[in-house]
Subunit: 142 residues, 2 copies
Amino acid sequence: MEKTDHIIALISNIRDKSNKLIVNELKKASILDLAPSHGSILQLLFSTKESLSMQDISIKINRDKSTVTSLINKLIKLRYVEKVKNADDNRVSIITLTEKGWQLKPIFDAVSQKLLDSIYRGFDNDQKKEVVDVLVKINSNL
Amino acid sequence: MEKTDHIIALISNIRDKSNKLIVNELKKASILDLAPSHGSILQLLFSTKESLSMQDISIKINRDKSTVTSLINKLIKLRYVEKVKNADDNRVSIITLTEKGWQLKPIFDAVSQKLLDSIYRGFDNDQKKEVVDVLVKINSNL
DNA sequence: ACAAAATAGTTTGATATCAAACTAAAAAGG
DNA sequence: CCTTTTTAGTTTGATATCAAACTATTTTGT
């Protein structure tokens, strides 16, 4: 390659293609009404022992709190999660997975694995570490 | 670093922060009604000698043709571009910059430069090439 | 030469997203 | 205590985005 100015376009394209792969794989698993951001929330819930508030989720998935409200509303409507008020502080809502939500875990694990396999095709472990390190650096530069 | 599984989140964050930086810099230049995608179109037009159809733009900026219709409609309303039908093939529309559109070039050039300076802070030329190469590889893996 | 297929672009409808204004509850501070 | 400020979350309004259906041209195949 010659120029290095199209890095933003590259990153944008990678993100778009990753999201399309996720949506596509979910479709294959007959999950038609969830977007990648819903997946981010679910995987956060799968992997977090402590209880998570709306704000926790907002910070962790890097989305505005009002966006999280609407994402969670959808997950509630689909009965994947539940929302209960924190007794100690009534401003805070705690989000928990339902049984139906937990059933999605293997599907999302498989989708994640498929995406990582695609992205890292032809990379050994050191190369993976290198690319993540450099992306961490860019991320902290911004 | 430990894990390399959060690469998608990293890429997503970098994209979001880049877009925020762009919107912010445009705001400083009193440009309040353009999103990064409008900037992609304008910069494509700045840098392309040949005439560009709606489809050309759709392919180059990697957005659905219907998205391009609405992005171009906004640019037309703001008088930054014009749309004329191709005489040889009446299905095709050709998009050209107006005088007012060309006036945005220095602003967008400066914004791009600022973004690249941020992203690449602490990188030498070889490191820039390396990261672009690896992103190109990931992009083609998807 | 004409019917069928392909192509370029628009319209329509749905949704994720953000920012700003708002509501309600808790904390701070005099 | 009681007022002020901060904090958590929702509502509202705007917009970029996509996919699917549609319209209008051009191309193709027989």
